[in-house]
Symmetry: C2
Subunit: 162 residues, 2 copies
DNA sequence: CCTAGATAGTAGGAAGTCCAACTATCTGGC
DNA sequence: GCCAGATAGTTGGACTTCCTACTATCTAGG
């Protein structure tokens, strides 16, 4: 087996040489996943920088954009995005400063806060999506993105993601 | 098309409904990748917590473990792991405090610093690997991890990862 | 030889993540 | 009705990442 320049392939070879062959494929999958995520995230962030938002904030905006009334409680945002409540607080704080969302009191539960997307928030969300569709989503460099989605769905499903 | 509980499938449906069908698969791939990475990373970090290291520091240790002489310049570590030089400084600082690595001057280039793994560092790296192989890598919940690795290699290769 | 530009590493700051702890509010069993 | 426990959100702290700027050192062209 010739020495590959692919760092993942190199790591797998090291795994086999150390007697960890049973786990080598899983390690390679995890390492590939980490590196691919890093690459894709940086491409996405580069596009979003032009709109003064991050991927975390973009996800919040899109969730609100797709909601029926343009508003959701903090809690629901955290559940949908699978992040800690404090991360939602952080993202919403910054979106609110940028006037892309506003906090509104929940009508029937005074503990809860509704986050509502503003007209400017909708404009930014749509413009950012258009840019992402053109620059990233529309051309991932994958012959078969559906196969990747299927594999990752199996992984996510097994971990209780949905 | 029935409404799925999979958030990625829901997002794809929204994409199609908004007339972004061309980019829907790419968006689904990116979103799947982000969520899957989040899931896997948290499983890995949970295991490594028992060894008082993070995934970033584990990667540094394994790179040193696999090196011929157990030491590498900072620069090389950053290149192999594809992270910013300051991230390497951060990880090495903490590994050095934990006495898992030591900084040594480069013999011929006084700008450079060699990072050398200690015997304790080797012990931790091997024990952590054993735990990860058992708890994560050996059972990812994927019928075909090789297919995932292949798809991700295509993506990484297209982005110039190797 | 010697200076201009490249390179190695670090410091400080912004942003994201999580956790633990806290306040305020809601809810269910007695 | 009321209190214990659950829930919603925020604050402060730790950690990781990146960026910009800086120092120290190397290297190559004049």
């Amino acid at each position: 087996m010739p020495l590959s320049r692919d760092p993942v392939a190199q790591a797998r070879q090291h795994w086999v040489e150390h007697g960890w062959a049973d786990a080598a494929e899983g390690m390679a999958a995890v390492t590939s996943l980490m590196r691919a995520q890093q690459i894709v995230l940086s491409r996405v962030e580069a596009v979003l920088k032009g709109f003064d938002i991050t991927f975390a904030r973009y996800e919040v905006l899109m969730l609100l954009l797709f909601s029926r009334q343009g508003r959701l409680p903090m809690r629901v945002i955290g559940q949908r995005l699978q992040v800690h409540p404090t991360s939602v607080t952080n993202a919403v704080d910054r979106l609110e400063v940028a006037q892309l969302v506003v906090r509104k009191p929940h009508p029937s539960d005074r503990r809860a806060t509704l986050i509502e997307i503003t007209p400017e928030g909708r404009r930014v969300a749509l413009a950012a999506t258009s840019a992402l569709n053109d620059s990233v989503f529309g051309d991932l460099g994958l012959a078969d993105p559906v196969g990747l989605v299927d594999d990752l769905r199996e992984l996510r499903s097994g971990a209780g993601d949905f």
